[in-house]
């Protein structure tokens, strides 16, 4: 599964329906903290992503809202996921992500030339970075990946990557 097909949530072998449902759930969770997931995505220049018109997205959003009013372990997990996701995003946006490819790692970043053309800076200064990894009580594990150029102080195309499902 490629990035373009998943957008905000990228995960191994997860169908688009699941992505849409997760995105709806995530946006609903963010809404509980008076944040707007779409605004965050726009601010970070995130293109593509979940289909907000799909039944799965709306179903996930509904589940998120219902979960917000419900009590029990599900609500706690949702809260923990939301808090972890916000902390991960803050870490990456602050330029404190861990370089995993490109500048600062001795490896080549395939997207470097495209990033230079789209956002500026030098291709050699672009790196892919990751936030810390979060593992929930349900076993769900995710982290946020983004492209960073420390020289021009840019962090773009952040997305949540689900590493264990």
């Amino acid at each position: 599964m490629g990035l373009a097909s998943c957008g905000l949530f990228d995960c191994p072998s997860l169908p688009q329906a699941g992505v849409d449902a997760l995105a709806g759930l995530g946006d609903a969770a963010l809404g509980m903290f008076f944040l707007n997931g779409q605004k965050i995505r726009n601010a970070l220049h995130i293109s593509g992503g979940a289909n907000q018109c799909s039944a799965d997205y709306k179903g996930g959003q509904a589940a998120g809202f219902i979960g917000g009013f419900a009590t029990g372990a599900g609500e706690l997990e949702l809260l923990n996921v939301s808090l972890a996701s916000e902390a991960q995003l803050a870490q990456v946006v602050a330029g404190e992500g861990l370089p995993i490819l490109g500048a600062g790692t001795g490896t080549a970043l395939g997207d470097a030339a495209r990033l230079e053309a789209e956002y500026g800076g030098s291709a050699a200064d672009w790196a892919k970075v990751t936030s810390e990894s979060y593992t929930g009580s349900s076993g769900l594990q995710f982290e946020i990946h983004a492209f960073q150029n420390a020289i021009i102080d840019a962090v773009v195309e952040a997305k949540t990557v689900i590493t264990k499902w």
Binding site: D10, P12, L98, I100, T105, T107, L109, G110, E143, V161
Partner: protein, 120 residues
Amino acid sequence: MKVKCLSDRAENIRYRITVAKEYVVLGISHSVGNEVTHLWIKDDPGNYFVPTPCDLFEIVDPKVSSYWIVKIDSDKILISAREFLEPLFLDGLTNLDDKCVEVFRRISSKLEDEAKPLKF
């Protein structure tokens, strides 16, 4: 080749490694321009490897892998399994592309088996 994490500095958290834990080195990258050497270490979550500065480790088994080859890419010297050095493989792996993840699991398993001590 195996290394042990020496550092108990804050970088451990950032690099997702644990002090005193031993790691199989899956590759080495050296940037000639920056004179920095990174060891490719499967981080504690274990989903892919992270190039980690070599000064955080000591070598506990210096034997290099028989699967490794050398590649020079611009100002970088890369040493690892042929599959890991394919163009765009690392991009695909960090994107968790299904095919790259399968190759990563298969090859890193071979490297880890090779690094196990022989039993008589």
